[in-house]
């Protein structure tokens, strides 16, 4: 009997600490500033426990009865605390208010627990033993919870399910207490029925936890997520709002279907339309097939090789009907050959020549990607250019990342190429830049394929004019051993995001 009682103390103490840790962790995850979050939450929680302890003196009769009700309330509120907070963050402005409210309520209830239990136990033990035993197990429970939480719960269950699991423990203690203290209880049936209901609700919550988090994450991405997958290389997310389809790779926007034609027409046609008789084209990156769609507007081209690292990406864009509608089933063209390989080693090993090379990599956000923007890479790529060949590089924004844009230009020049930088406006990206590089002279084309929505031959020359706020900056070239571009890019974007 005594042991069973103290196990209850151990368990409810662990539960109490878990809810506090859940709130602190969640606030740190979502809002940041973990020192502030943990300090204020612990303070608020302990203070509320004090309020609970003070209130306990107003409970005179029916101690066991009230103890069980308190357990059930803690189980329900604590169990759903994490899910409620997630949803509140995603859908309301009241996250902080709700968080401190929940922490206060749980704190008050937990503060009531121990004094009540001591008084219940006092009837069996003398006061000295009761205090010693109850507090001992209270503290052991706290230790167990504080170890379990980071080692087992967060990595294996996540915050939402951890809270639910411990809600179940609280409710379980309530149900168990109806048997343990049966002698001191009236209305046992009612209490057992309520306990069973609470247990069932929490169990349901535990099973549905995945859906709750997904629902909350939906709103963090603002539009409905229609596809999300972690591949070996990246996190692919597709969202849709009405007719706007957006692709995010590792959280970075790649295109919005509303204006991607501006980007892809600009990437391809100023270069490709200037080549007299293009036959063979190479695309590096571009696993969405949208550049391919533009290239396929030239019937004289007989072969397009697309090298993209991620097979899941090219598979997705050659099979999903919404996406193939967007890229006009470009991957299904018999002219297109897909190679899933890392671009730099591939271009180093391959020996074929191309009339047009499209370099469409993600922005140089880290040193691994930065290698694809070096003199060594452009030298290797230039070896593949035919006599009439041109190379085009997506070169980030000359407006928001002016140093980076001109650093790419300097790098291409250092690699022995002539450069022709230009820029366009893509609403979802802002002002965006490209560079045509070649070993020969380049003249803007006088005619473009029919059916373009953005570019015209008449407006093309204007794209090569840079206003003063985007004008050339003197920059050193980016090399494998000194990746100035990654540092410049980091600086550029930090400057505008703070």
């Amino acid at each position: 009997m005594a042991l069973v009682l103290f196990i209850s103390v151990f368990l409810i103490s662990a539960c109490g600490l878990i809810y506090e840790l859940v709130a602190g962790t969640l606030a740190s995850y979502l809002v940041g500033d973990s020192v502030f979050q943990f300090s204020t939450i612990i303070g608020c929680y302990l203070f509320s426990m004090g309020i609970g302890s003070a209130l306990s003196r107003y409970i005179h009769r029916g101690l066991v009865h009230r103890f069980i009700w308190i357990e059930l309330m803690i189980g329900l509120i604590g169990g759903f605390s994490s899910a409620m907070l997630f949803l509140a963050f995603a859908y309301t402005q009241a996250f902080a208010f709700l968080m401190y409210f929940i922490v206060t309520v749980i704190g008050v209830l937990v503060g009531l627990e121990i004094p009540l239990l001591m008084r219940i136990v006092r009837e069996r033990f003398n006061f000295r033993d009761a205090v010693a035993h109850v507090l001992t197990f209270d503290y052991i429970g706290a230790l167990a919870a504080s170890l379990l939480f980071p080692i087992v719960l967060v990595p294996h269950l996540g915050l939402v399910r951890s809270a639910m699991l411990f809600g179940l423990v609280n409710a379980g203690v309530a149900l168990w207490s109806t048997y343990l203290f049966a002698a001191q209880l009236g209305a046992r049936r009612l209490l057992r029925a309520v306990s069973a209901i609470v247990l069932a609700i929490l169990l349901g919550g535990l099973l549905e936890a995945k859906r709750i988090t997904a629902f909350a994450e939906d709103n963090i991405y603002s539009d409905e997520i229609i596809f999300a997958r972690d591949t070996r290389y990246q996190h692919i997310v597709l969202t849709r709002f009405k007719d706007d389809l957006r692709l995010f790779l590792n959280g970075h926007l790649q295109f919005s279907s509303r204006d991607e034609y501006r980007y892809h027409e600009s990437l391809i046609h100023p270069g490709l339309a200037a080549i007299p008789t293009p036959r063979r084209v190479l695309v590096l990156g571009g696993g969405d097939g949208l550049a391919l769609r533009e290239i396929l507007k030239y019937p004289q081209i007989d072969s397009i090789t697309l090298v993209d690292l991620d097979p899941e990406m090219t598979r997705l864009f050659s099979s999903n009907s919404m996406l193939t509608a967007l890229n006009k089933r470009s991957f299904l063209s018999p002219k297109v050959h897909v190679v899933n390989a890392d671009a730099f080693p591939w271009i180093d090993a391959d020996s074929s020549s191309f009339d047009f090379i499209v370099v469409d990599f993600p922005d140089p956000t880290n040193y691994a990607l930065g290698k694809l923007y070096t003199t060594a890479f452009y030298r290797a790529a230039a070896r593949h250019l035919s006599a009439q060949g041109l190379l085009v590089v997506q070169s980030t924004s000359p407006m928001f990342a002016r140093d980076s844009f001109w650093c790419i230009d300097a790098t291409l020049r250092q690699a022995g190429l002539r450069t022709n930088p230009y820029h366009v406006y893509v609403p979802s990206f802002g002002e965006w830049g490209f560079i045509i590089a070649s070993t020969r002279d380049y003249n803007t084309p006088t005619s473009l394929p029919p059916g373009l929505r953005f570019l015209t031959a008449a407006t093309l020359p204007a794209l090569f004019q840079f206003p003063p706020d985007m004008a050339r900056m003197p920059m050193p070239p980016n090399t494998l051993n000194d990746q100035v571009l990654v540092r410049a890019y980091d600086r550029d974007w930090k400057d505008i995001s703070h």
């Binding site: 087992v152 070996r232 890392d342 730099f344 290698k371 990654v486």
Partner: protein, 503 residues
């Protein structure tokens, strides 16, 4: 009640630990390239088993490290082909040996060459031949990629190994003062690579005190500055500043121009250079050939191995010089030739650990205040943008305590002990390292590199050996007093030239 509660607590603890101890896969590995069994035969002057056959050859090179192989490279380029190179180990290359597994090639010891200055003409000549240097431009693919180095300090990674974060005024001031002193020494030109070229106008008095004492004389007492100075001595000399000649300490900082973005490196470290050289001179190399005795016989030298007695007109002794007294009758004992024991480990890393801090993985990764030298990533020089598996080469110069005691420790403790020590050290920065590593191979080197102790640089005996006597020429980098590729190559090439002049 008491008994029950104790049982309960014990049970609870067991349950908790049971939950944390995940089923860790066993990490495989072994000691590799152990050389001491053969080496100790020389030390113990073990009897030679069979009667060897005679072979007449104009020149024998003893030792297939960088000095010996570079001598062979020079001879071969000059059209001289009548020689053999005898190497005790199964693989030539010495400290530039390397290994390879299904993930990557990796170094066993030396793993880079700083971008050579204008005085290192032989190194530049070699690198031009290997197309590392073309038309005065270093091949970008062989220069260490960004990010080069990082240091774990105050619980986070910073870029570069010289401490730069959280410096106090005092730290800053002392770093600056040292930098100014080193710049002044550099301008004096007495500290050069190769060292021989600057020696005549180099401050001799610096060799009379330890680098530790010199720093004290400069009132350097910032723990962080001293840590960095000690790190540099451990890294290049395998010794603490207190056991290093101040001349060598200064040489480390003052011999090279504030660098071009380098150094030069390859996945297998200097093993790449060794491979290129062996492609050219491999046909002269006989591995697994331990020289047991070298005797002067009139105008000739007899070089004895277990199977052959070479009758040679000249010998280039490119093996570590400390072996000479054991091989040559009447060779006076050496005094200022101490050697640092090292341990290197190659770890097969199956998945990147969740590192502390957010800085990207660098080529050279050092942890402040660790007794080890950190690790180098073998796949850093890859052109791929995605790397899952890699090999880390972990370096540990057993610098604290006496070299003899550390050598004994290297031999006494088993693979389990050393692999545990390596993991333990890495765990400070990569708590989950054990679940990322599938194999740890360890190489123990009792005499990994010569230690530039006080008085060793201007040691008259060393100067005498540098000049050489007759047609027996000493070429190991330990004649310079410290063990770096440029010195070994310089001494090898110079020895070859001396022999060519005399034959």
């Amino acid at each position: 009640m008491t008994a029950t509660r104790r049982r309960f607590i014990a049970g609870g603890c067991a349950a908790l630990t049971g939950m944390t101890a995940k089923g860790q896969p066993r990490i495989a590995g072994s000691f590799v390239n152990d050389a001491f069994l053969r080496g100790h035969q020389i030390r113990d002057r073990a009897p030679i088993a069979a009667t060897p056959r005679d072979e007449r050859i104009p020149l024998v090179i003893v030792g297939g490290g960088m000095a010996g192989v570079s001598a062979a490279w020079r001879l071969q380029k000059r059209g001289f082909r009548d020689f053999v190179l005898l190497e005790m180990n199964d693989q030539a290359g010495g400290n530039a040996r390397s290994g390879a597994n299904e993930v990557s090639a990796y170094p066993w010891a030396a793993h880079y060459v700083p971008v050579p200055g204008p005085k290192a003409v032989y190194v530049r000549e070699l690198f031009e031949e290997l197309e590392v240097l073309r038309d005065g431009v270093w091949n970008e693919r062989f220069l260490c990629f960004s990010p080069q180095e990082r240091l774990f300090l105050y619980g986070k990674w910073q870029e570069g190994i010289e401490p730069a974060i959280g410096l106090s005024r005092k730290d800053r001031e002392q770093f600056q003062r040292l930098e100014d002193s080193f710049a002044a020494f550099r301008a004096g030109g007495g500290f050069s690579i190769p060292m021989e070229l600057g020696l005549s106008h180099s401050p001799r008095e610096l060799d009379r005190l330890s680098f530790g004492d010199w720093l004290r004389g400069q009132s350097i007492d910032s723990p962080l500055v001293l840590w960095y100075m000690n790190y540099c001595c451990r890294d290049d000399y395998g010794a603490m500043a207190a056991d290093t000649s101040a001349w060598a300490g200064v040489h480390y900082f003052s011999s090279r121009a504030p660098e071009e973005k380098g150094p030069l490196t390859w996945p297998e470290g200097n093993g790449w250079i060794a491979k290129q050289l062996l492609k050219r001179v491999g046909s002269f190399v006989r591995t697994g050939q331990m020289v047991r005795r070298i005797e002067r016989r009139g105008n000739r030298y007899l070089v004895l191995t277990d199977s052959v007695r070479y009758i040679a007109d000249a010998v280039i002794f490119a093996a570590p010089t400390f072996l000479a007294p054991y091989l040559m009758e009447g060779f006076r004992p050496l005094e200022k030739f101490e050697y640092s024991p090292w341990l290197t480990a190659n770890l097969t890393v199956d998945r990147p650990p969740r590192g502390a801090g957010t800085l990207e993985r660098a080529w050279d990764n050092v942890v402040a205040h660790s007794p080890t030298l950190g690790y180098v990533d073998a796949t850093h020089q890859t052109l791929r943008s995605q790397v899952d598996r890699t090999v880390w080469t972990f370096y540990w110069a057993l610098a604290e305590g006496s070299p003899a005691a550390n050598r004994a420790l290297l031999l006494k403790k088993d693979w389990g002990y050393w692999s545990e020590a390596v993991l333990h050290d890495l765990e400070r920065v990569h708590p989950d390292i054990r679940s990322c590593v599938s194999r740890i191979d360890i190489m123990r080197m009792g005499h990994a590199m010569v230690r530039p102790v006080v008085g060793s640089i201007f040691d008259p005996r060393r100067r005498e050996l540098a000049v050489g006597r007759g047609r027996l020429v000493f070429a190991n980098s330990d004649i310079s007093g410290f063990s770096i590729f440029e010195e070994a190559q310089f001494r090898g090439v110079e020895a070859a030239d001396k022999i060519l002049r005399s034959l």
